[in-house]
């Protein structure tokens, strides 16, 4: 039993050390608001709106499947200390966020709840018409949750973040209002260019690997002709791919859109069978990139997919305003 006592003693010392370190952390959090965002787009928006009043940590790295982001110990630590947890919601992160929130045991988040940016999203698409167990898995049970690729996401999300920050730090309300308003102006400037690109893309047809570009396609007037996945979250089956190859040829689809996380070879082969090519589109903001840059990149990649270029004067719109 002596060995056991020693082990228990070591546990006690180690845990009290750890407790001390975390209570120091709790005091610090009363000054700068600690924000944890599930995905880089909303992390960037939170930084824009919060300015120096927030410290933002982000969980996803930028190339993952948004439904299946892997968590690390640091995510549990940052979520435990967070004053605000920002997710898209709409069941986008439901496979990994509830477990993170439970395991990280943050009573502030448990009481206030995370900020779900997708709540109240006005143009939800691809809502399943029926729900039947016989149809198996669907990772978009509430409709398409990939709203971060919609050009109107920026302003929509920035306002939601602003409102929550104001409720957490009412004394800084003016600052958050001003930051948000300034950011919306910049979004509106960039959006002019996105609209001009959209005009060139109107009427083009695509098939998606996973239906994660639907909002971008809708904004650009691109017609969606189905997905390589038989259902969101269900890996492509040979029978479904054969059907899609026929459909792509019948509909004249020339481009298959895929995220970096999807199997390249499979997407290329499936596209080739349908007489199309596979094109990678960013699914999230990547390191060092703002949401505006990311949306620029997404639009430009679409232009390249059809070998299109925006007439010269359009480039002047993209001034270094970040």
């Amino acid at each position: 039993m002596f060995a056991i006592r020693r082990i228990l003693g070591a546990f006690a010392v180690a845990s009290s050390l750890a407790l001390t370190s975390s209570s120091v952390a709790a005091q610090e959090s009363s000054e700068v608001l600690r924000v944890v965002a599930t995905l880089p787009p909303q992390a960037g928006l939170a930084s824009q709106v919060g300015g120096d009043a927030v410290q933002v940590d982000c969980i996803a790295r930028g190339k993952e499947n948004l439904h299946a982001v892997r968590l690390r110990p640091s995510h549990m630590v940052s979520t435990h200390r967070a004053d605000l947890f920002v997710q898209v919601g709409l069941a986008l992160e439901h496979a990994w966020v509830p477990g993170l929130l439970e395991a990280s045991r943050n009573s502030r988040i448990a009481n206030d709840g995370p900020l779900n940016i997708g709540t109240g999203w006005p143009n939800l698409v691809e809502i399943p018409l029926t729900l039947s167990r016989t149809e198996g898995v669907c990772v978009h049970p509430l409709g398409n949750p990939h709203v971060n690729l919609c050009p109107s996401f920026g302003a929509f999300a920035a306002r939601k973040i602003r409102d929550r920050l104001k409720s957490l730090r009412p004394e800084l309300s003016e600052k958050f209002d001003a930051n948000c308003a300034a950011y919306e102006v910049r979004i509106a400037e960039r959006a002019k260019r996105w609209k001009r690109i959209a005009a060139l893309l109107e009427g083009k047809k695509v098939v998606q690997y996973h239906k994660e570009f639907s909002y971008l396609c809708i904004a650009c007037g691109i017609e969606r002709c189905g997905a390589l996945e038989p259902k969101p979250g269900v890996p492509p089956t040979p029978a479904h791919l054969a059907k899609m190859a026929v459909k792509m040829r019948d509909d004249g689809v020339k481009v298959v859109l895929r995220g970096a996380w999807t199997p390249l070879r499979l997407a290329q082969d499936a596209a080739a069978r349908g007489g199309a090519k596979a094109v990678e589109i960013p699914v999230m903001t990547e390191k060092g990139e703002t949401w505006l840059d990311f949306m620029d990149r997404a639009h430009e990649t679409l232009l390249e997919a059809w070998d299109l270029t925006l007439p010269e004067d359009g480039l002047n719109m993209k001034l270094a305003d970040d």
């Binding site: 056991i4 082990i7 228990l8 546990f11 845990s15 750890a18 407790l19 370190s21 975390s22 952390a25 790295r61 930028g62 190339k63 993952e64 499947n65 439904h67 299946a68 892997r70 968590l71 690390r72 110990p73 640091s74 549990m76 630590v77 435990h80 997710q87 919601g89 709409l90 069941a91 992160e93 439901h94 496979a95 990994w96 509830p98 477990g99 929130l101 439970e102 395991a103 045991r105 009573s107 448990a110 009481n111 206030d112 709840g113 779900n116 997708g118 709540t119 999203w121 006005p122 939800l124 399943p128 729900l131 898995v137 990772v139 049970p141 509430l142 890996p235 970096a260 996380w261 199997p263």
Partner: protein, 435 residues
């Protein structure tokens, strides 16, 4: 694959707890109700086996029900046993649900088609503070990295041989456990647990084609070796005579793509008996018993996991060294010169397992596992089990596995087995966060 033992996919019962038991705020939002035909589908988040949800159906009813299925086709090649065998390793039904924001409970019922066993039935209390929890009832004891979840949930084809020998296929105990985790710096989580148990069974649902010295259920809460069983008297006992388990572990980020974990575990059994039957000098069946024995099992584990930027491929390397000390074995000794008796062997035996797994993409992984250990016997004969395996996930909730197992035994004949395994998960399914 996204190994159940890694941090992300091992969301599990705790995920379920968050879905079911946590304040509503934790649940994902439902989206605009006016646009959604889904109506009450407010919280589709469910524990995952692999990743994603096990079903798109709301789990907000209480309790959540899950099922698991595990069957194998085995081709065995050894001197004692040869040929094909089809086995239902397990069918499992689980139910879990909240009792209040701070309490939740669940149970798991398992059968291998011969017997039914209640392997888990516990209440969990989280009202002590931010990072502490207490569980009470019957639940899997906290030992090492590959012992906390059901065999069918492991990425590796079977419980590592050294753990089967020293701890049993599963380690459900009846008792109470306290656990607490704390952040250390920004990148490290430290956690410890201490459990006290009045009994702990070496419950078993048949192995998957490897060396087969555990057959069928052993509901006597004992671990059988050569006809001699480890047995704990029922009834009241001193606190110091309870079985104790403890585990301390730290996991930390290694860069942006890796996680490293280190852990130490102990299980002590301060007062038990070895029991066995044998023939006495008059050729009568007699029961033998040796009481007042004690034994401890200690383990030290390391795990490293790395995944690619897109999270779809990666490597997992893991291993654990395990040592049993004290009264490690009992044997009915019947030589010509002495009286028949149950002899107890006091000493140390040890072993380890190590594995490497490569996730090729989100539906395929392969790996190799080796486990070498000394048997719980006086001579401590050594055995090495080596398996190579390939896991394929046609969907998130079905897994096909092909494994080749070689057993190299100092004491018995060597054997080889080829195992084709099929697993399916239905509805809610999960296990506590795998620390």
């Amino acid at each position: 694959m996204k190994s159940i033992s890694n941090i992300t996919p091992s969301l599990s019962l705790l995920v379920l707890a968050s879905v079911l038991g946590a304040p509503e705020a934790l649940a994902q939002d439902s989206g605009p109700e006016e646009n959604s035909p889904v109506g009450l589908l407010e919280s589709p988040a469910m524990p995952r086996i692999y990743w994603g949800q096990t079903s798109r159906f709301t789990n907000s009813f209480n309790p959540a029900i899950g099922m698991a299925f595990d069957a194998s086709l085995i081709n065995m090649d050894s001197d004692d046993e040869d040929g094909f065998d089809a086995r239902l390793n397990l069918a499992e039904v689980t139910m879990q649900g909240p009792l209040s924001p701070n309490w939740w409970g669940g149970f798991a019922l398992e059968t291998n088609s011969e017997e039914v066993a209640l392997t888990e039935s516990a209440l969990y209390y989280t009202g002590l503070g931010d990072r502490s929890a207490i569980r009470a009832g019957k639940f899997f004891a906290d030992f090492g990295k590959q012992m906390q979840i059901h065999v069918h949930d492991l990425d590796i084809p079977d419980r590592p041989a050294v753990l089967r020998e020293y701890l049993g296929f599963e380690l459900p105990g009846t008792g109470i456990q306290y656990d607490h985790w704390s952040p250390i710096g920004d990148d490290t989580a430290f956690r410890f647990s201490v459990g006290l148990f009045s009994e702990m069974s070496a419950h078993d649902h048949g192995d998957h084609g490897g060396h087969d010295d555990h057959e069928g259920h052993d509901d006597d809460h004992g671990d059988e070796h050569g006809g001699v069983e480890m047995h704990m008297e029922g009834g009241y006992r001193d606190l110091s005579d309870m079985i104790m388990t403890a585990r301390a572990t730290a996991m930390t980020d290694v860069g942006t793509n890796g996680v490293f974990q280190i852990g130490a575990s102990i299980k002590t059994v301060p007062d038990f008996a070895f029991e066995g039957e044998g023939e006495n000098d008059l050729a009568e069946e007699v029961e033998f018993e040796a009481e007042g024995l004690d034994q401890s099992v200690t383990g030290f584990d390391l795990t490293y996991e790395w995944n690619s930027d897109d999270g779809m491929s990666g490597w997992t390397l893991g291993g654990e060294f395990v040592r049993v000390s004290g009264d490690v074995a009992g044997e009915i000794v019947n030589d010509e010169t002495a009286l028949v008796d149950l002899e107890v062997f006091n000493g140390d035996v040890q072993g380890y397992y190590a594995f490497a797994q490569h996730d090729m993409d989100d539906t395929n992984s392969f790996g190799v596992m080796i486990s070498t250990f000394e048997h719980l016997e006086e001579e401590a004969p050594e055995e090495t089990e080596t398996s190579i395996y390939w896991n394929h996930w046609p969907t998130e909730y079905t897994r096909l596995r092909l494994a080749a197992v070689n057993v190299d035994s100092e004491e018995e004949e060597d054997s080889q087995a080829l195992v084709f395994q099929l697993n399916g998960w239905f509805g809610a399914h999960g296990h506590p966060y795998n620390w």
